[in-house]
């Protein structure tokens, strides 16, 4: 299993720059946020009043046996409670709706960004990993917005209110209560260091578990057929076990930490009883004040353990934010230039000029490729597997950019054209067929409203899929499952072929578009395409030479270089690679099979 850099991003728990960027997402909801902050401050303030009311009740009314006063106080308390209810509900709803909106924005932003990223990025990044950005990482930020950022104001108000109240009532006693603070800070610091390391481990294991799961689910057929279940299970179990161990470790830390804080708070309460009790005996302090003091001290420590909880949220969120921002900051290597040039006319002329290309470093897959396709010409590309045919197409549609040389479409370098404008000129039947879940119709049309149902039907009948579709219970509305799993491979290929035709392109590109289709259908389609593409440019890649022999020109690609070009007849006359391929495919049918071993080396 490959490890990825972003699994290791664990966040600094607090990073000012990132926080500012995160808070930027709250800006559109500035007013709501402000209101939420006001609400939370009000709520905290109201909550602090409680023990103080107790003090008044004891000292002023109970001690003075003032029943009426007690009644009034009760009413005030009641009013506060009702107000609290309203405010809290409002605040919760407000915060959550802000959180949800921010999540919505984030998800849209991430998803939109992934749509812009270049294909090479997808080559190196597993889908599961990008999924995590859109799902759990965004969730972690929601947690931050709903229970982190804003409520922290509440905690601050709470703490400062309590500190103020304590000092006002008796500053010496207050000093005593706070004497345990350094210890609490120390304990918290140690805890943080431990938990951080552990958290990193857990995140890594979760990421590993998810990508393992994802791949196992998609490849389950291969796993089952090769009887690999026990070993896959073992592998899964071992990741799971590491995950368990890491979590048990975390539990240990938490189990130590919380009681630790409680113990320290008990110490300070003990101090209050001992010293404060003495004061009451001496008459330096009222009984009510002591009771209020005790209640405040208890409440003082609650927000502190809350803050640690929030620290966790913060840490998780920061790590997620970093991963999300890393994705968002990944520029697409392939983008529309600032001032795109649009060819005067969409004719469909293509030119490769001294193109070199490597997927990685200097591992050239294509070397010095030059050729031109005139408007309306039909070009065929043949060559051994792995010789770079698909790569050629990938470059033409700008899935990858060429490092050396240039590619022109209608006389303009494709790097200077608008990306969508460029790609809309082509319809490509990719070698790897991909169907989306949806319906037959939506797979042909890809939800493009400009394509009418008529055109969809037309395209389907061109590839002779209409009879098959008509037999389906729901016809064009028939459900297509993920990756088209209920169709035969040939049917899938035809469906993706129909898609290309429905888009009515200037330039049609077929990369092994009928490799899984039977000969009869193939011939029929070929005739239909020939009609359809009259006057339009097309590029056809095929191993079955029958598919291409009436092309205007054939290019023979060998190990990334063009070795032969010409028409079928010219190439046969050259007696080179093409001739040999041709011999192999057909001559043997007369029993005159050439010996493969005697094929002259091409070098």
């Amino acid at each position: 299993m490959t490890e990825h850099y972003d699994d290791h991003i664990m966040g600094k728990a607090y990073d000012g720059q990132m926080m500012r960027r995160l808070l930027g997402y709250l800006r559109p909801y500035g007013r709501h946020v402000a209101l939420a902050i006001v609400l939370i401050i009000l709520i905290s303030a109201l909550k602090i009043i409680g023990p103080y009311l107790t003090k008044i009740a004891i000292d002023r009314y109970i001690a003075a046996a003032d029943l009426a006063g007690l009644g009034k106080l009760g009413l005030i308390y009641l009013a506060i409670l009702v107000a609290l209810f309203g405010l809290e509900y409002l605040q919760t709803f407000l915060l959550n709706s802000i959180g949800q909106r921010v999540m919505y924005d984030l998800r849209m932003q991430i998803f939109s960004h992934t749509q812009k990223l270049d294909v090479a990025y997808f080559d190196r990044t597993p889908v599961g990993r990008m999924m995590t950005r859109i799902t759990s990482d965004v969730d972690a930020l929601n947690e931050l917005f709903t229970s982190g950022v804003v409520t922290i104001f509440g905690d601050i108000v709470n703490l400062s209110g309590i500190i103020l109240a304590l000092f006002l009532m008796n500053y010496r006693l207050a000093g005593l209560v706070f004497s345990v603070l350094p210890l609490i800070i120390l304990v918290t610091l140690i805890f943080k260091i431990k938990v951080r390391e552990n958290y990193r481990q857990v995140r890594k294991l979760i990421a590993r578990m998810n990508s393992f799961l994802q791949e196992s689910i998609t490849g389950m057929m291969v796993i089952q057929i090769f009887g690999r279940e026990p070993r896959k299970f073992q592998h899964f179990e071992s990741i799971n076990k590491d995950h368990l161990d890491a979590n048990l470790q975390a539990i240990l830390y938490y189990a130590l930490f919380y009681p630790g804080i409680e113990l320290l708070s008990a110490v300070s309460i003990g101090l209050v009883i001992w010293y404060g009790g003495g004061q009451v005996v001496l008459g330096a302090m009222t009984l009510g004040a002591l009771v209020a003091f005790l209640q405040y001290s208890e409440r003082f420590f609650q927000p502190i353990s809350d803050l640690t909880e929030k620290y966790n949220i913060l840490q998780t969120a920061m790590a997620s934010a970093e991963r999300i921002f890393t994705l968002l900051d990944t520029p697409s290597a392939i983008a529309t230039p600032a001032e795109p040039i649009s060819p005067a006319q969409a004719k469909g002329a293509i030119e490769f000029h001294r193109v070199w290309f490597a997927y990685k470093d200097e591992n050239w897959v294509l070397r010095d490729i030059s050729f031109a396709v005139k408007e309306g010409e039909r070009l065929a590309i043949v060559g051994a597997t792995g010789s770079g045919k698909t790569t050629l197409i990938n470059l033409l549609t700008r899935f990858y950019d060429v490092p050396r040389g240039e590619i022109l479409v209608d006389g303009i370098n494709i790097k200077q054209m608008d990306l969508y404008d460029l790609r809309r000129r082509f319809s490509v039947v990719l070698q790897d067929v991909f169907l989306f879940s949806g319906t037959v119709e939506s797979n042909i049309r890809l939800y493009d409203e400009n394509i009418t149902l008529e055109q969809v039907r037309e395209a389907a009948s061109l590839v002779h899929l209409d009879r098959f579709i008509d037999r389906l219970p729901k016809g064009y509305e028939e459900e297509v499952r993920e990756r088209g799993s209920s169709f035969s491979v040939g049917e899938k290929q035809l469906l993706s072929f129909a898609r290309a035709l429905a888009f009515d392109p200037r330039i049609l590109i077929l990369d092994e578009a009928t490799s899984s289709v039977d000969t009869e259908t193939e011939i029929l389609i070929q005739d239909a395409i020939q009609q359809l593409m009259k006057g339009r440019t097309s590029i056809v890649i095929a191993h079955r030479l029958s598919t291409i022999q009436d092309a205007d020109r054939i290019i023979v690609l060998h190990k990334g270089t063009i070795r032969e070009t010409g028409t079928h007849q010219e190439l046969l006359a050259q007696r080179g690679i093409y001739h040999r391929l041709y011999q192999l495919q057909y001559k043997e049918q007369y029993g005159r099979r050439p010996h493969v071993t005697n094929v002259p080396s091409v070098e």
Binding site: T54, A57, L70, G71, L81, T92, N96, Y104, M108, F111, T114, Q115, D123, V127, M131, I134, T135, L213, S216, T218, M220, I225, F226, F236, K241, L248, I251, Y254, A255, Y258, P259, L287, L290, V291, G383, T385, G386, Y420, R423, R424, S427, Q431, F436, L446, D448, R481, S488, G490, S496, S516, E520, I523, H543, S546, Q549, L581, L584, Q585, Q589, V596
Partner: protein, 583 residues
């Protein structure tokens, strides 16, 4: 509780850790005893402060507070470790079992479900269930203990006051029930929507090349937006309910405090109760606040957990369609004879059959070739041999035994299969080739790589056999993927070799080389070869022509040519193409 039946299915797992759970519960009890003693100490302090009290006495009480708190902390530590620990153990068990169960499910199941959906069930939903097992159980026990004991103590201080103070709790329980149901319902909807978002993103990202090739980015973003917006709506619908829950509980409990202030205060004034009593009463009432709030939280956890558990159960309760039956034949080796007797098969009951009345016998070691149009049923036929789908009982025999009676593991381990669509794992080339064997002996790997004619390609990669291929083998060319899959099948040294159009993406030259290499391999094994090219199938011992699920012609190449049917027609077409080109 309400609508949480699905959680009963967790009982066997809890059972496994019953001793731990018991110790955990005991610790929890002790923890709370010490916790609950503390307001009592305060009562003592305050009551004695009204009288005379010595500094020693005060010191003693302070010491008591600290001591009790220490004891409480100790047991709380044990409680958390044990109870939360158990939830992690069970999570571990659940996750293993869930994965193991998925491994058993048949392919039709994986075709029905979306990957994104399965993923969200095995991660998100499992997480929600874990919350029930850990914090859920711990806090509900806690709530139970504290509220019972606190209530008893409250009664012991003043039963009348207690009755009044606890009156609002009746409303609390009503509240919990009503809200719980509503939360459950709304949460279920959210999870469903969440799964949909995941599935959408998942598919889009997997098919990104198509999206880009057709410049469909904008419309993809729009449809993602629709799902996303729905999600926000559903999430807010939940908040509208759950947001009121907590504050409402707070309010109800607040009523108790007010009642205490009024009535308790009067009693103290009238000297029917001491001030210390009242303070302790307040303390215990405050202690009830946390469990009640926790209750709201716990209810949430339980409802979410139950919703998630039932989503997981929908998978868990799916019985694998393909599995070993009860009357297994004692087969542990397969020599490779295959027979179809009047086999008719449809994918869905009531649907037109994909295969009709297939009768066929393939002797051990023979080579069968299948040709036929797109969608004729070729792949279906071989899939039945592998039991990717189950044939009707008794209609398909291997070595004279109905396949459904051969242990699945035995059957599949004797078949080498090159599927029509290649799936590779994002691992090294070597690991992919050695996928079907326990130990990938490097020499063996190289040998099969040569037979599949992929050796030279691999050696041209920067890291040779240790080169990583992308997801699904994305960084290999079409033909390289296919040849890797051939090598993978060969390495298992199978008795039956099935090549489902396995040379469709390679050029003729390579095809010829592979076929030549394979002919040695095929000699000793039963081989089934599916192809559209006459050149590939003509040397087979037996050729069948499938059309619309029926065998319409069969025999050797020459026989079929003389027959003058579909096969001869196909042959003519392929020859004709060539002659056309001969001009």
């Amino acid at each position: 509780m309400f609508k949480t039946y699905s959680l009963y299915r967790l009982l066997p797992y809890l059972q496994r850790y019953r001793f731990k759970l018991f110790y955990g519960a005991a610790c929890l009890l002790v923890t709370n005893v010490f916790a609950l003693a503390q307001p009592w100490i305060l009562k003592k302090v305050i009551d004695s402060l009204s009288l005379e009290i010595t500094t020693e006495k005060l010191l003693f009480y302070s010491g008591l507070v600290v001591g009790f708190s220490f004891a409480e902390g100790l047991f709380r530590f044990l409680m958390r470790r044990i109870l939360i620990g158990v939830s992690r153990y069970i999570e571990y068990d659940l996750r293993n079992d869930f994965f193991a169960h998925m491994e058993k499910l048949s392919l039709s199941f994986f075709h029905r479900m979306k990957t994104g959906d399965l993923m969200s069930r095995s991660t998100n939903d499992l997480g929600a269930v874990r919350m029930v097992l850990g914090p859920g159980i711990m806090y509900s026990m806690n709530t139970l203990v504290i509220s019972t004991v606190a209530t008893i103590l409250l009664f012991s201080i003043s039963w009348r006051l207690t009755l009044i103070a606890l009156l609002p709790l009746v409303f609390v329980s009503i509240c919990v029930k009503k809200f719980g149901e509503e939360i459950h319902k709304r949460f279920d909807k959210i999870q469903e929507q969440y799964a949909e978002i995941s599935a959408k993103a998942q598919e889009n990202l997997s098919g990104i090349r198509v999206v880009k090739a057709y410049a469909r980015e904008e419309s993809e973003i729009r449809s993602f937006e629709t799902l996303n917006r729905l999600y926000v709506q559903k999430a807010l619908a939940l908040v509208r309910v759950s947001g009121a829950f907590h504050p409402l509980l707070g309010l109800l409990l607040g009523f108790s405090s007010v009642a205490l202030l009024w009535i308790g205060g009067r009693q103290v004034i009238e000297h029917r109760m001491t001030l210390g009593d009242m303070v302790a009463f307040m303390g215990y009432l405050a202690m009830l606040i946390w469990p009640t709030i926790a209750l709201g939280w716990v209810v949430n956890i339980f409802q979410r957990g139950a919703a998630s558990m039932s989503r997981m159960l929908r998978i868990w309760d799916t019985v694998p369609e393909i599995r070993d039956g009860d009357d297994l034949a004692p087969v542990d080796r397969i020599s490779g004879e295959i027979e179809f007797c009047h086999l008719t098969f449809s994918y869905e009951p009531g649907q037109a059959p994909a295969l009709k009345d297939i009768n066929l016998q393939i002797p051990q070691g023979a080579t069968l070739a299948i040709v036929g149009k797109t969608g004729a049923g070729k792949s279906t036929l071989v899939n039945l041999i592998l039991r990717i789908y189950d044939p009707p009982p008794g209609a398909l025999l291997v070595d004279g035994v109905p396949v459904e009676r051969i242990p699945l593991a035995v059957l599949r381990s004797h078949i080498g299969y090159v599927p029509q669509e290649t799936f590779l794992f994002s691992d090294t080339v070597k690991e992919n080739m050695a996928f079907g064997v326990a130990q990938g002996d490097p020499q063996e790997v190289e040998r099969v790589a040569k037979v599949a004619d992929i050796y030279d390609d691999v050696m041209s990669f920067p890291n040779h056999f240790d080169t990583l291929v992308g997801e699904r083998g994305i960084t290999l060319s079409g033909g390289q993927k296919q040849r890797t899959a051939i090598a993978r099948a060969l390495l298992t040294d199978p008795r039956i070799l099935i090549l489902d159009d396995a040379l469709s993406s390679v050029d003729t030259y390579t095809e010829e080389k592979i076929l030549r290499g394979l002919s040695a391999v095929m000699r000793q094994r039963t081989t089934i070869l599916i192809s559209h090219r006459i050149s590939t199938v003509k040397r087979a011992d037996h050729i069948i022509v499938l059309d619309e699920g029926r065998i319409v012609e069969q025999g050797r190449h020459e026989d079929l040519l003389t027959l003058g049917g579909l096969y001869a027609e196909l042959n003519k077409k392929q020859l004709l193409e060539e002659e056309l080109a001969e001009f």
